[in-house]
């Protein structure tokens, strides 16, 4: 037997699963040679810029293009009328609605696209958009979703008037989009009627925006001669874009190439198909030259996919010991003027019905109404697996309120209600099967690490002196890795994903996936999976994504699905290769397959030391010496349809101190334990946790998109929209446990969205906890100094000597 040290050395040199290897992508990024969409320059390329509406709701009386067309360097000005003959003035959304590409007779939200100017360069285009004269007739504006279904509410979507069969359910009002329910209403109501204790808490999850560093953009290039369309764009789902563009334009998919180059952060903002993409494609087809469109920051925040905007009510029924008997959740969802949520098509409220969280809840009922308002479309984005942020927020806030009402410590009430380790896989009463977890162990680990008892004691002393100290807790369960084709599809295409791996004769590997990284390090981590499966060093494994001409069909990267679905496909494809390799090795060693055993990077004949073939030797043989009847070559493709979602979980604890004089909240400590099953690259995981916690900090403490009554968005630049810098961002402490997923080939669950999903309720829990002794049960976000001071002032805590 080789000694263990030698084997370990070989394993280390592979740099496979579990190794914090440095990232392959970094070389180009640190030398400024990354390739982002706006970096692309093609010969004869023109620039597009948008004419946008100042009004949130108005009829378009006339559009006068003359002055713009007269400006030297302007090639075209397109409006809805120009798109009508191509039937492209409207386009389907991913949620079964339709969306105006360019405003067709009516504008539905402020900054909506009304016309597009195509010019020689971006400077001329910027001048030209001011010369397009649009005459509007203002209409009443609908901003408050609570008034969307009033009898006298202004009707937004004249194209839907009278059509009461919505894509997801009956519509009860012209501004109604859908009603969607999960669970048993009657059984839940009965438990509430008889329960010893019930709590009810209204809470608003504000409209926020992912605001990635790179805004959205594309370069559309139609080759008239070959009738072939190539589009480089900022898309988290290039294959879906190819399918939709083909459906819209009639160009066969085989003549469409979509390329997502390097992407400067996505966070769900780059899943949707935006009017800018469609008009660039149309302009390129019409003019026969490449057309580039890149939005600026104000356009990005004002018009591209926002997140949340859920008006929620959480109710829990429990016994006096705090054991939860039933959960009831009601939601009013503001979807903006067009329903363009990027949900799996069967779930108009996404995976909101994961709202039973980490708890063993016998019965529950969820009711969601989506409505139209005069705001931009979107709603599912921002590091969130289809509304799981809202689901975790409502359960974690409401269980805090229950704890407070019963006078039970917020950690203790969670202990009493956690699903126990032995109950996994656990069927939730709203239809999910939580694959694996161990909440109790993880909770104790966190409470010990921060010395929870000491913190509570310190809080008592501080309260005695009139100081405001808060301890927040969030013990969340996520649902990621969408998803099984039986219940997850986008426009009818199942949400599988894929990997195609090819081993070259000299033993190096090229692999391509159906996912697309926006900074998560796929080029590094996928190589580690293959390295461990095939015993080839990850440094010799090249990973490519994002080019629909080369990558196998996949549904893209969002909802933390790359590792759970793309990673699984990679492992399974690699195992197909190893199975073939075993046959070749048996042939070379003249033994039967079963006589061989695999060790790190080689097949060894059992019991016969020295008789072995490394994978590299097998790879060479695959191209010149294969067994009878076997085809040469060593490659495999796998389209992996996951049997279930995966359910990473986390225990987050946050300690805050509030300055009574100004309302400022300082985060003294944030301890984040995450369990995402098998950990492929711990360094990259920690980086994702830091990033998610920082986004959560930004959302909870400062981000909002306020609208005034005229539908003006009051905060669409980085001066007003809160993006924290180095100085405001707290220091993060990370920890982990490992509870593998039983149904995933590697036991890996996906992690990058957990820190965003779990930290936001934890910040609210901490801020509210600072006031809990004064009967405050909830405070809506954002917890800016201004809003926290209003609570301090209301309670008279800021009186000076």
């Amino acid at each position: 037997m080789d000694n263990a040290a030698e084997v370990q050395e070989r394993e280390d040199s592979i740099k496979g699963v579990g190794c914090s290897r440095k990232r392959k992508e970094d070389a180009r990024f640190v030398q400024g040679t990354g390739r982002y969409t706006d970096d692309l320059k093609l010969p004869g390329m023109l620039f597009a810029d948008m004419v946008r509406s100042p009004y949130a709701h108005a009829r378009i009386k006339s559009i006068n293009k003359e002055k713009a067309l007269a400006l030297p360097g302007v090639h075209a000005v397109l409006t809805a009328d120009d798109l009508k003959p191509l039937n492209l003035h409207w386009m389907p959304t991913l949620a079964g609605d339709v969306q105006a590409v360019l405003a067709d007779e009516k504008v539905h939200f402020q900054y909506q696209e009304v016309a597009v100017v195509i010019a020689d360069d971006r400077y001329i285009a910027a001048d030209a958009i001011e010369l397009v004269e649009v005459e509007y007739e203002e209409l009443d504006v609908l901003v408050d979703p609570h008034r969307s279904m009033d009898d006298d509410a202004p009707i937004l979507r004249e194209d839907l008037v009278g059509k009461m069969d919505g894509a997801h359910s009956k519509r009860v009002h012209d501004n109604h989009i859908f009603n969607w329910q999960a669970g048993e209403k009657e059984a839940t109501d009965r438990v509430f009627e008889q329960a010893e204790i019930t709590v009810k808490q209204e809470m608003y999850y504000p409209r926020v925006h992912p605001c990635p560093m790179e805004t959205c953009g594309c370069v559309a290039s139609f080759d008239k001669i070959n009738e072939h369309l190539t589009v480089h764009l900022t898309s988290q789902a290039p294959h879906v874009v190819r399918t939709v563009v083909s459906m819209l334009s009639g160009i066969p998919e085989s003549k469409i190439r979509i390329v997502s180059p390097d992407i400067g952060g996505g966070f769900g903002n780059k899943v949707g198909i935006y009017p800018g993409y469609v008009v660039s494609i149309v302009a390129s087809i019409v003019l026969g030259v490449p057309v580039k469109w890149v939005e600026d920051r104000m356009e990005n925040i004002s018009t591209t996919a926002f997140a949340r905007d859920y008006h929620m009510t959480g109710e829990l029924a429990a016994d006096s010991e705090g054991r939860i008997k039933a959960l009831r959740v009601n939601v009013l969802a503001d979807h903006g003027a067009f329903d363009a949520c990027a949900d799996p098509s069967k779930f108009p409220a996404g995976l909101m019905h994961i709202c039973t969280g980490s708890y063993d809840i016998p019965v529950a009922h969820l009711n969601v109404d989506g409505v139209y308002t005069n705001k931009a479309p979107g709603g599912v984005a921002y590091r969130c697996s289809f509304r799981v942020t809202e689901a975790v927020y409502v359960i974690e806030r409401t269980i805090d309120v229950l704890a407070q009402k019963l006078g039970i410590d917020k950690a203790e009430i969670r202990r009493r209600n956690f699903v126990k380790a032995e109950q996994f896989p656990y069927q939730t009463c709203l239809g999910w099967e939580l694959d694996s977890g161990d909440y109790h162990t993880a909770l104790e680990k966190v409470l010990d690490a921060v010395d929870y008892e000491a913190l509570r004691k310190e809080q008592q002393e501080k309260r005695a002196q009139g100081e405001l100290m808060g301890i927040g807790l969030c013990t969340f369960t996520e649902i990621v890795g969408a998803g099984p084709s039986r219940n997850c599809d986008i426009l009818g295409v199942g949400m599988f994903d894929s990997a195609e791996i090819r081993v070259h004769p000299t033993g190096s590997v090229m692999a391509r996936m159906g996912t697309i990284t926006q900074g998560q390090g796929h080029q590094t981590t996928y190589a580690q999976i293959i390295a461990t499966e095939l015993g080839i060093s990850s440094d010799e494994i090249s990973i490519e994504e994002g080019d629909t001409d080369t990558a196998p069909y996949g549904l893209g990267t969002y909802g933390s699905r790359s590792t759970p679905v793309g990673g699984a496909a990679t492992a399974v494809a690699a195992r197909k290769i190893r199975a073939k390799a075993q046959k070749i090795a048996a042939h070379l060693l003249e033994v039967s397959e079963n006589d061989l055993e695999w060790e790190v990077d080689r097949f060894k004949v059992k019991g016969v030391p020295g008789q072995e073939k490394t994978m590299k030797e097998v790879a060479w043989a695959a191209y010149n010496n294969v067994p009878e009847g076997m085809e040469p070559g060593l490659e495999a493709v796998d389209y992996y349809d996951p049997p279930n979602f995966t359910y990473p979980f986390g225990i987050y604890l946050c300690v805050v101190d509030i300055d009574k004089a100004t309302g400022e909240t300082s985060v003294r400590r944030f301890y984040a334990l995450d369990d995402c099953g098998t950990r492929i690259n711990p360094m990259i995981i920690e980086g994702q946790i830091h990033g998610g916690l920082t986004e959560g900090f930004a959302v909870a403490m400062g981000q909002e998109m306020p609208f005034d009554e005229q539908g003006n968005l009051l905060g669409n630049t980085l001066m007003d929209y809160f993006v924290p810098t180095f100085v405001e961002t707290p220091h993060w402490e990370t920890d982990y446990t490992v509870t593998p997923s039983p149904h995933h080939p590697l036991g890996a669950k996906g992690v990058a969205e957990s820190p965003h999903v779990g930290s936001i309720p934890c910040f609210t829990s901490a801020v509210v906890d600072a006031f809990a002794h004064l009967d405050v049960t909830h405070m809506n976000m954002p917890h800016s100094a201004y809003r926290v001071w209003q609570k301090v002032h209301e309670l008279g805590l800021d009186q000076h000597a």
Binding site: A126, D127, M719, T725, A785, Y786
Partner: protein, 287 residues
């Protein structure tokens, strides 16, 4: 993102700049450019001509003249922070410059641009009021000196005459028995102040001989909270008096409401910033 077209001229001297202002109607001076260019990029401002005054040596430099410090209008925020003269003789200005915007902007933004721009959120106007500074202005009619007090009249409204250029700012050297305090509340680096308050106090023994309390971004322009000053001037300042002064600061405020806060919050924060600055100034004056 892209400014409208304009003509660009580089001024070689102060007089040259004044002449060019006269020669080109509606022209604007380009100093640091970090107030003007962003407005132009969003097409709010479209001056037909820009006159770049970055090359004028006369507008640069910080020098000590007796008990007065002379600061060229084109001195950048970082040059204020790194100036030994100011660190020793006028630390308030260094403290204030440190809290303006971010490192890159502080390499370009100038004290002169900040003083005359006219946005209520600019930081240096209130500092000039607290220091009882003097503005040295030069125009077609020659040079004149104008106390900072009385220069700021409203939002984008000050006493700068037509085709006049701010050339220099003169601030008194800090003397024995004089203390300063500076407090600024903002949501994050690079944001406007919710409220800011520079304070300079002059003690005669324990008695407050004079005090100037200035406020940033809580009125149409930088203001002095005179009523609050009168509560403290000539008295031995104690906590009770500071509270009385704080109440006067609230009364003096007339802030604009936005997502940083409503009138009540911003006024109360102006009072809190004034409290902190008064206490810091007293501690320093008492030595």
């Amino acid at each position: 993102m892209i400014p409208a077209e304009f003509e660009y001229h580089k001024a070689t001297s102060i007089q040259d700049a004044i002449n060019q202002l006269g020669a080109h109607e509606d022209s604007k001076l380009l100093a640091g450019g970090h107030s003007l260019l962003p407005m132009m990029k969003l097409r709010f401002a479209e001056p037909p001509t820009l006159i770049d005054i970055n090359g004028i040596e006369e507008l640069r430099g910080i020098r000590l003249e007796g008990d007065t410090i002379c600061i060229g209008a084109m001195t950048t925020e970082n040059e204020l922070i790194e100036s030994e003269i100011l660190q020793q003789h006028c630390p308030l200005l260094v403290e204030a410059a440190r809290l303006v915007a971010d490192p890159q902007v502080r390499n370009r933004g100038t004290i002169g641009g900040d003083v005359v721009h006219g946005d209520p959120g600019n930081d240096h106007p209130a500092v000039m009021l607290a220091l009882d500074a003097t503005l040295v202005l030069q125009g077609p009619g020659g040079e004149r000196q104008q106390p900072a007090n009385g220069f700021f009249l409203g939002t984008y409204w000050n006493d700068l005459q037509e085709h006049e250029i701010l050339v220099e700012l003169r601030v008194p050297v800090i003397r024995q028995g004089v203390g300063h305090g500076y407090s600024k509340l903002k949501r994050k680096t690079g944001d406007y102040a919710v409220a800011g308050s520079p304070v300079v106090v002059e003690l005669d023994g324990d008695v407050c001989r004079d005090i100037r309390i200035a406020l940033t971004n809580v009125a149409p322009m930088a203001i002095r909270a005179e009523a609050a000053e009168n509560v403290l001037r000539g008295k031995v300042i104690d906590d009770a008096l500071i509270e009385q002064a704080a109440a006067e600061v609230i009364a003096a405020c007339d802030p604009a409401e936005d997502l940083r806060g409503d009138i009540q919050y911003k006024s109360h924060m102006a009072a809190e910033m004034a409290r902190r600055s008064i206490r810091a100034a007293l501690q320093q004056a008492r030595g």
